[in-house]
Amino acid sequence: MTTLYKNRLFWPSLILVVMLAVNAFTSNQFIAFQDGHLFGTLIDILRGSAPLILVALGMTLVIATGGIDLSVGSVMAISGAVACLLISDLPNQNSLSGVFIAIGAAILISLAAGLWNGALVAVVGIQPIIATLILMVAGRGLAQLFTEGQIINVQSGPYSALASGFFLTLPIALLIAAAAVGLTVLLTRRTALGLLLESVGGSPTASRLAGIGARRITIMTYVVAGGFAGLAGLIASADIKSADSISAGNLIELDAILAVVIGGTALIGGRFSIIGTVLGAIIIQTLRVTVVAIDIPAEANLLFKSVVVVALCLSQSPDFREKVFGRFKRPAVQKVGAPA
């Protein structure tokens, strides 16, 4: 019991549960079964968090190596733009093979974007934040160029199923995110990748001298992050059946980083927690929904959000818990010097 309480994910989980309870209270249908699939606010939240989960997943790996990826939002925009452009050119937008080709092309381009970032960071040796800033700025420009600044609409059943379809009573978007999470957990925890990532993040020099190909691993994480961002871009664009290269994934990097940190992964790299990240992403999405559900006026949205974030980060700080709730025991003796 005490160990549960001390777990660093305990408080975030509690905050999530509270917010979900609020939603359950305000919503007509929290969870229900309808038209052969699950339905309701909870499902909306989970489905809505799929893109963020995907982006944050890649971000977790990048952060584990001590890097950061600001370009994920732009990659989302590119991927959505590419897919929608290809699909809108199809003679039959409902053709499965055509949609698959479009998706494949979008993912390939996203992977290439990740490779570019990885190469800048690991080969050229540019600081990650600035290396990915380049693609963050230019990438959205590319997406705008592809779409000529317009919103590209598609009317493709198979494509929009990515976001709003259901499979085995569950939203496909959620299943995709779950599969990505499963794959990442498998890749990092069932192979030695996780260890090597943490090692590179913990100390690049020591890792190099231990014979770890830090460069290749670093590149790989950016590639994976690019791929996941691309996938997220597809889901986001399928959700609105169009590619909006201007606003797709705008500022998602901040939310993703926030999710990672809420999940207990330190930004300096090293130890990472995938489950924590997933939890963080769901919390952020729930927060977004809760703001609307409990009628916070638009101009106070941010204020509310900040209160939750402050509560979250303080609750996670062992030092805060100790200093505020902890025992106040101090030997009754004279103090030497000023406190540091």
Binding site: L70, V124, G125, I126, Q127, I129, I130, A131, L133, I134, L135, V137, A138, G139, R140, G141, L142, Q144, L145, E148, G149, L254, I257, L258, V261, I262, A266, L267, A298, E299, A300, N301, L302, L303, F304, K305, S306, V307, V309, V310, C313, L314, Q316, S317, P318, D319, F320, K323, P339, A340
Partner: protein, 341 residues
């Protein structure tokens, strides 16, 4: 050749120097990134002059300081934070809060000489609060200041979500005051304030004990603590400084535009961080100079100026060109630095 006596017997300090080794001289490599940046900046400027009409006009350079006065001030504060190994995402929001608060208070007929110190103090307090949370509760700077961002911008939007004009005489007069540098070359007080801030900050960072503590903490906070440096105090101080600089930036903003707006300075944090990094400040902490940051600001400003003079780019191309210029610049800088080392 010095004869060396290796037996571990005691020997008086007065004798021939024992165990003296040859010193392998290494050039001080800390200035190389800055010199590289400066060099590339000059190259960039020259190509602007070669390609565009009126680019050689001295106002181009003078305006660079004035248009980027706010960024300069904010980036200077950010430099301190980054050198300690931290980051401050709240600066843009503090600007917002400052401008809207200034405008609202002035509209409510508060005397300007009360408003000015009040908003600066508020900025410093926000910074200090963040610093305290970071130091005492060991919350990551990124997340503590992100919360600060939400809080400050949230407060700004709650105060007023519309832009508010400033009609106060003092603000207007400062805003309109022209400083003629040469015939046809005019600048404004905000540029002077920015330059002064830079000079003072550079001096503080280079010449004071506080400045050196900032570097020490960025190099290795644990060591700094064991060396008996006031780590907590210094950390809180740099965030306070950054908050203050952001508030000062906000004031400059409100002077520049004689208005306040809750979205003013949105995204400025990223510009400031980028400017620092381009100027050779290491995000891992412990290394960098205020002058580097100034060059970083000038680089981003010059890129914007070039795009403005180019004049036929649409949004998509403008972004791509900014990205490409940034890329070329960073890679060149990297190559030059690598070569020199």
């Amino acid at each position: 050749m010095t004869t060396t006596d290796m037996t571990p017997v005691t020997k008086d300090g007065g004798g021939p120097v024992l165990n003296k080794r040859r010193r392998v001289y290494k050039p001080n490599s800390r200035y190389i990134p800055i010199l590289a940046t400066l060099f590339l900046l000059i190259v960039m400027y020259s190509s602007g002059v070669a390609n565009y009409r009126n680019f050689e006009d001295p106002s181009v350079i003078v305006n660079l300081f004035r248009d980027n006065a706010v960024l300069l001030v904010v980036a200077v504060g950010m430099t301190f934070v980054i050198i300690t190994g931290g980051i401050d995402l709240s600066v843009g929001a503090v600007i917002s809060l400052t401008t809207i608060l200034t405008a609202t208070l002035l509209k409510a007929d508060w005397p300007p000489l009360v408003v000015l110190p009040a908003v600066l103090l508020l900025g410093a307090l926000i910074g200090a609060g963040q610093g305290a949370v970071i130091h005492y509760f060991k919350v990551e700077p990124f997340i503590a200041t992100l919360a600060g961002l939400f809080l400050a911008r949230g407060a700004a939007l709650t105060i007023n979500d519309e832009s508010v004009p400033i009609r106060d005489d003092m603000w207007r007069e400062i805003s309109d005051f022209r400083i003629v540098l040469a015939d046809g070359v005019v600048t404004k007080p905000i540029a002077i304030v920015a330059v002064l801030t830079v000079v003072v900050a550079a001096a503080v960072l280079a010449w004071t004990r506080f400045g050196r503590n900032v570097y020490a903490i960025g190099g290795n906070a644990d060591s700094a603590l064991l060396m008996g440096l006031p780590v907590g105090r210094t950390k809180i101080a740099v965030y306070t400084l950054s908050g203050f600089c952001a508030a000062l930036g906000g004031v400059l903003f409100s002077i520049n535009s004689t208005s306040g707006w809750a979205l003013q300075g949105n995204g400025m944090e990223l510009d400031a961080i980028a400017a620092c990094v381009i100027g050779g400040v290491l995000l891992t902490g412990g290394s960098g100079f205020v002058w580097g940051t100034v060059l970083g600001v000038l680089v981003t400003g010059l890129i914007r100026t070039i795009i403005n003079f180019q004049g036929d780019l649409n949004a998509a191309w403008a972004r791509i060109i900014i990205g490409v210029l940034l890329f070329v610049f960073i890679v060149m800088q990297r190559l030059v630095t690598r070569k020199a080392k």
